[in-house]
Amino acid sequence: MGEMSWSGRQGVAVPPGARAMGDPGATGRFGGYGGRYVPESLIPACHEIEAAFRAAWGDPEFRGRLDTLLRVYAGRPTPLTPAWRLSRELGITLLLKREDLVHTGSHKINNVVGQALLAHRMGKERLLAETGAGQHGVATATAAALLGLKATVFMGERDIERQELNVLRMNVLGAEVVPVTTGSRTLKDACNEAMRHWVSSVDDSYYCVGSVMGPHPYPWMVREFQRVIGEEARAQCAAELPVGVPDYVVACVGGGSNAAGTFAGFAGTTARLVGVEAEGGAAATFGRAGVLHGFRSLVLQDEHGQVREAHSVAAGLDYPGIGPEHAHLRDGGRARYETVNDDEVVKALLRLARTEGIVAALESSHAVAWVIRAAGSGEIAPGSTVMLTLSGRGDKDIASIKELL
C-alpha cells in the first residue's frame, strides 16, 4: 500500500445536497430534452410504468426489498478503492468506485434489479431488453431468473460476435437472445427492435431499458435506480477525504446511466462532473438536438437528420445518442463531456491492470483514459482528488483486446 491514508470507514448515509438532480415531472423534461416520443400504442404502457414507479419509489416496502437485494444479492455497497500506484504516477489522488465488483460485473445490475422488481409488482411475465456490450442483457437475464420471469434480449449481430462470452452467459441463465441484423447491427438497432417488439407484447412484457434513455419515465427512473452509486460514493468520500468532496467526479458515458447515477450523488456539491464518451460515439460533443428512441436529446446525425452509426472499441458505448438529462447538464454547464479514442482506452485498460491489478471494462477504461490524459497535461491540477466510477469489469473484453496486446 502507498502512503495515502485510508481508514476503510465507508459509511453509506445519504448526505445533504445529494438530491440536486430531481424529478422531471409529468412530462419528463430536462430543460428542453426528454419527453415521450413514442407511438400512441405505447402511451398507456408509459403512463402505467410511471405510475407504478412513483408508487413503488415512495413505498418503504419496495425500497426495503430493493435495498436488501442490492446488499445480499448484488453485493452492495461497493468499495471505494484508492488507485495507490497509479495515483502516485499521475500526481493526483484517484479513487475508484468499484462497480466492477457487483454481481454480474457491472453497474447495470443496480438498474435491472429495480426494474425487475417493478415489473414483478406490475404482474408482468417477461422482461425485454436491448444490449450492446451484453452487460445489461446479462443483468436482465440474471434478474429474470431471480424473480422467476422470462427474458428476451435484443442484441446486434456485430455485438454478438465481439461479446460472445456474454451471449453464452445469457444462454446459461435461460434468456432468449435475439440477433438484430438491421442497420449497423449494434446497440442502436437493438433498441429499435426492442421497441418494436414491445409494441406488440406490451400486455405481458415489460421493457427493461438499460440506460438513461427511452421515453419518460425511463431516463429518470434508471437514474434513480443508479443513484445508489453516487450516494454511496458521496458518503464514502465524506468519510475518507479531508474536505469530504473530491475535486473531480468522472464516469464513462454510453447512454449515460452509470454517469447519471454517479453525478446524482455529487450534483449538489462543488465537485466538477466529467462524462467521458468514445470519440466515435460522442453525442454530447458532436451531436445535434434530435429525437431518437422515444426522447429528445443530442444525437449523432448527418445534415439531413439520418442518425449516424457510432463506432467504438467498447460495444457498450456504441450509441449515437446520450441520455436527455446529460444534454441538459451539458447545456447548463453543470457537467462537461470529453472524448477519448480507442487507442488511449486500450492503453488505459492495460495501465490500470498493471498498476492496480484491476482489469476494467473497455467502457470504464474511457474514464480512466481521460484522467490519465488530463492529469498528464496538467488540466487536472497536481494534488487533485478524482473520484472515478469504474462501471464494470473487463473479463468480457479480454478476447477482443487479445490482438492488441
Binding site: Y37, S41, V199, L292, R296, H304, G305, Q306
Partner: protein, 261 residues
C-alpha cells in the same frame, strides 16, 4: 385539387365510397413519382408518402427495407419536396415521417416547406398527443392537416381527445404492433373503429396489416376506409413496376367498392 385533406376525403366519403390511401416510400426507386400517379389513376383517394428515416421504430421489415433503400440512394427531405412540387396527382398527398426529421430546424419551417411543395397532410407516428402541441400549431399555420394515431390500447378519454385534435382523418391502428403484413388484425380493431365513429364525424381510416383486398373490404366495413402500405412496398421490393402497383391498388378499389354495396 383544392381544399384540405379533410374536406377532400369527407367529400369523397359523401359519394358513398370507402376511402383508400395507398403508401409509397419516397425515393425508394428513381421513378417513385410514377407510382404516386399510378395510385391516383387506380382510384386512390389520397396518397401517403413516407419520408425515409434511419430508425423507423414503428415499421416492420418491409418498410424498413424500403426506407433503407431510399436513404442509400441519397433521398433527402429537400429532394423529395422538389419532386413533389412538380407532381400533380389530383388527390391530396400526406407526408408520413418520424420526429427527428420534423424537428431538424424547426417544426414551423418543416411544415411550411411541406405546404409550399403542395403536400396537404402530415403523420408523425412518434409524436403522440403529449408531444404534438407545437407541431399541431405549426401544421395548422401552414395549412397542413396533422393526422393523429389512435390505438387499440387508447383509453376512451384519449380517443376522444385524439378524435378532436386529429385533422384530415383519424388513423386507427388495427393492432398493437408495427407496420407489416404479418400478424393478426386484433379483435379490438372493429371496436376501435366503432368507438371512433361514435366520437367524430371526421373520416376514420384503418392502417397496419391491411394485406389483401378482402381484408381491406372487411376492415372498411368498421370505419371509412383503409391505408395500405406494406402489401404494396413488398410487391415493389420484389420488383413490381408502377403499372403493376397501380393494378394492385385497382384491385383494392374494386374490393372496397363491392364490399360497400
Amino acid at each position: 385539387m383544392t381544399g384540405s385533406v379533410e374536406e377532400f376525403l369527407t367529400a369523397r366519403r359523401g359519394t358513398g365510397r370507402p376511402l383508400l390511401v395507398p403508401y409509397v416510400t419516397a425515393g425508394v426507386t428513381p421513378d417513385w413519382t410514377n407510382i404516386v400517379r399510378a395510385y391516383a389513376d387506380a382510384g386512390a383517394d389520397a396518397v401517403e408518402l413516407g419520408f425515409p428515416f434511419s430508425d423507423p421504430m414503428l415499421d416492420g421489415v418491409t418498410i424498413q427495407e424500403a426506407a433503407g433503400r431510399a436513404i442509400a440512394a441519397g433521398t433527402t427531405v429537400r429532394g423529395i419536396l422538389d419532386e413533389v412540387a412538380t407532381l400533380d396527382a389530383g388527390v391530396p398527398l400526406i407526408a408520413m415521417t418520424y420526429s427527428n426529421l420534423v424537428v431538424q430546424r424547426s417544426v414551423a419551417e418543416f411544415c411550411a416547406a411541406l405546404a409550399a411543395s403542395g403536400l396537404r397532410g402530415l403523420i408523425v407516428p412518434d409524436s403522440p398527443l403529449e408531444e404534438a402541441g407545437e407541431l399541431a400549431d405549426a401544421a395548422a399555420d401552414a395549412g397542413l392537416d396533422l393526422v393523429l394515431l389512435a390505438a387499440p390500447s387508447s383509453s376512451r378519454a384519449r380517443l376522444r381527445e385524439i378524435a378532436e385534435r386529429s385533422r384530415g382523418f383519424v388513423y386507427a391502428l388495427t393492432r398493437m404492433g408495427t407496420t407489416g403484413e404479418r400478424g393478426e388484425i386484433s379483435e379490438g380493431a372493429a371496436r376501435l373503429g366503432r368507438e371512433l365513429k361514435e366520437l367524430t364525424d371526421r373520416p376514420v381510416l384503418f392502417g397496419f396489416g391491411v394485406s389483401s383486398p378482402a381484408r381491406a373490404a372487411e376492415l372498411a366495413g368498421h370505419a371509412d376506409g383503409v391505408v395500405v402500405a406494406s402489401a404494396l412496398m413488398r410487391r415493389l421490393l420484389d420488383g413490381a413496376r408502377p403499372r403493376e402497383l397501380g393494378a394492385y391498388v385497382a384491385s383494392l378499389r374494386r374490393a372496397l367498392d363491392q364490399g360497400a354495396r
